[in-house]
Symmetry: C2
Subunit: 328 residues, 2 copies
């Protein structure tokens, strides 16, 4: 088995580069001091995220390809959540020298594959040695004539809608924590939840679509629906009322909750890593087909679920102690 250290920095970079499809839109692509990319509309949208081994992924739980796809997905989703079209990723990799070079190439393949879902390219990166595997991803995109959709534009009376499922990634995490990831005869609906944890599939086009329909605020659900909607509430200076029964795709959570004697509502309301999109729309606007109305914006500052403040945990804090996050 060839390790990263066996290949060396420049050997590894050459192998990574060989996996990147050519990007005909790049003015300067991978391999110079910096990439140069066209930005239609002359407004660039940029976001950066870190994924740390043992916290955001585990090499024994996820295939390398899934780790790469998930890293790409969470960043591309941030761009789409501004109503923008994601176009490029920059990919920083910190890795212990003894890790197999094939693992790195698998991560790269996963990123390339996820970028391909939305027509984005890998435009640059950096590789260095470290004690722990860390991925640092920056995504870039552009606004197609529309203004950006921030977290701050929701107004009382707006509808709240989501595009994409809420809770499956957290349910999948709970199944993995309980050891079900090693079970080969798992029921397909439970396998689907584990897949959602390993490899979320954000509906990127829902972001620009919501922007075209005049969404007043938008976010992607990376840290839990309540926590992420809380950012919209805080930045917009509004309250939010959600209806639990309106949340889409919660049927698939129930068998897992029964199996684990857990509360599916906790996954749906506070589970992270789904990378669904949540947005608010002015009253009277036709909500796009891929979106489901789950509540409405109101005066005040509270976030109510079926009329009451949710008593459980509401989301993820990266410095909380293990076990205190996402537990029911």
């Amino acid at each position: 088995m060839m390790s990263v250290a066996d290949l060396g920095e420049f050997g590894l970079i050459a192998e990574i580069r060989a996996l990147l499809p050519p990007d005909p839109s790049a003015i300067v692509g991978v391999g110079d001091d910096a990439a140069v990319l066209p930005v239609p509309g002359a407004r660039v949208v940029a976001s950066t995220d870190l994924l740390i081994e043992g916290r955001h992924f585990r090499r024994d739980w996820s295939a390398a390809k899934d780790v790469g796809a998930k890293a790409a997905a969470q960043n591309l989703a941030d761009i789409a959540a501004m109503g923008a079209v994601p176009t490029a990723l920059l990919f920083g990799l910190a890795i212990p020298g003894e890790v197999a070079a094939d693992w790195v190439l698998g991560v790269t393949r996963g990123m390339v594959s996820e970028c391909g879902r939305i027509g984005a390219a890998i435009a640059g990166g950096d590789v260095t040695s470290a004690d722990q595997v860390m991925l640092a991803i920056t995504a870039l995109g552009y606004l197609n004539g529309q203004p950006p959709v921030t977290r701050g534009g929701a107004r009382p009376g707006d509808a709240i809608a989501v595009s994409g499922p809420v809770g499956p990634a957290a349910a999948g995490l709970a199944l993995l924590l309980a050891g079900y990831g090693r079970q080969s005869d798992l029921a397909p609906e439970l396998t689907g939840l584990i897949d959602a944890q390993r490899r979320p599939q954000p509906r990127y086009q829902a972001g620009p679509q919501a922007a075209r329909h005049g969404a007043t605020a938008m976010i992607d659900t990376s840290d839990g629906l309540l926590q992420d909607l809380g950012h919209i509430a805080a930045d917009s200076g509004v309250g939010l009322e959600l209806r639990l029964a309106s949340l889409p795709g919660t049927d698939v959570l129930r068998p897992a909750a029964d199996l684990l004697q857990a509360d599916w509502r906790q996954w749906a309301l506070a589970g992270g890593e789904d990378h669904a999109f949540a947005a608010t729309f002015s009253p009277g606007v036709t909500i796009p087909a891929d979106w489901t109305i789950i509540g409405n914006v109101c005066d005040g500052a509270d976030i109510l679920v079926d009329g009451a403040v949710w008593p459980g945990n509401t989301g993820w804090d990266h410095f909380r102690k293990p076990g205190s996050n996402r537990s029911s």
Copy 2:
């Protein structure tokens, strides 16, 4: 002492944000899913780099402010090395929960300060816990009407020039490794070398300046002059001839070399982290005042120093074993 874990993710982010000066040019600044920035000329220049504790910096060798300034500098320099104007940084921080929050705020202050040297702003970021401190920086910039200056445009007959010193950062590293960082009565010229290691001060404006003077190829010296010029040679399909006596600022290396019984030429030719700029200019072009001619481009593929291939180490590989890098 307040630790990062005591503050929590969102408390820490709030403290970091409070240190960032407002960026009047940002369309959407820090605090949304992504930043939205204007890109004059509709071509964005983007580069990403990782800094790992114990490899790129040591908390016992460098003040937090210097770590932040250096992280910013090496990324802003990559943008300038394309002939572009750096405008923004995105700043990912992976950090153990027990690290003092003040250290993180010091790093932030250093970044803000270094960005201020060139009028750039911190546009976004991410914070997460990890076993080891890692900074992941992405720099963005724009091209001011000129085409980008790549590594691939050097032609035989061009002059090779540098802007900024070569070798002081490596000499400073050697002094730190030998224990001189703790010595308070160090001669000022040696202190200056340690300062260059802790906090390089790239001449960012030299990049766009070289572009305006028609530089045919450019790079910043992050991994060692010979290695970085080697990228120009390889990408341009040319050979390079350097004159050791023409290298600027090598006088300051000699007292340190005498003290450590080291070879100053090794620092000048193969020492990394100076973030000087190296460029090639067509014959007959007036070289800008901040630049020093150090050789010329020739046919072939070799890089010659005073007519011979340099027999020593030529630069940095992040997966080589400790001690095999930058030693004389």
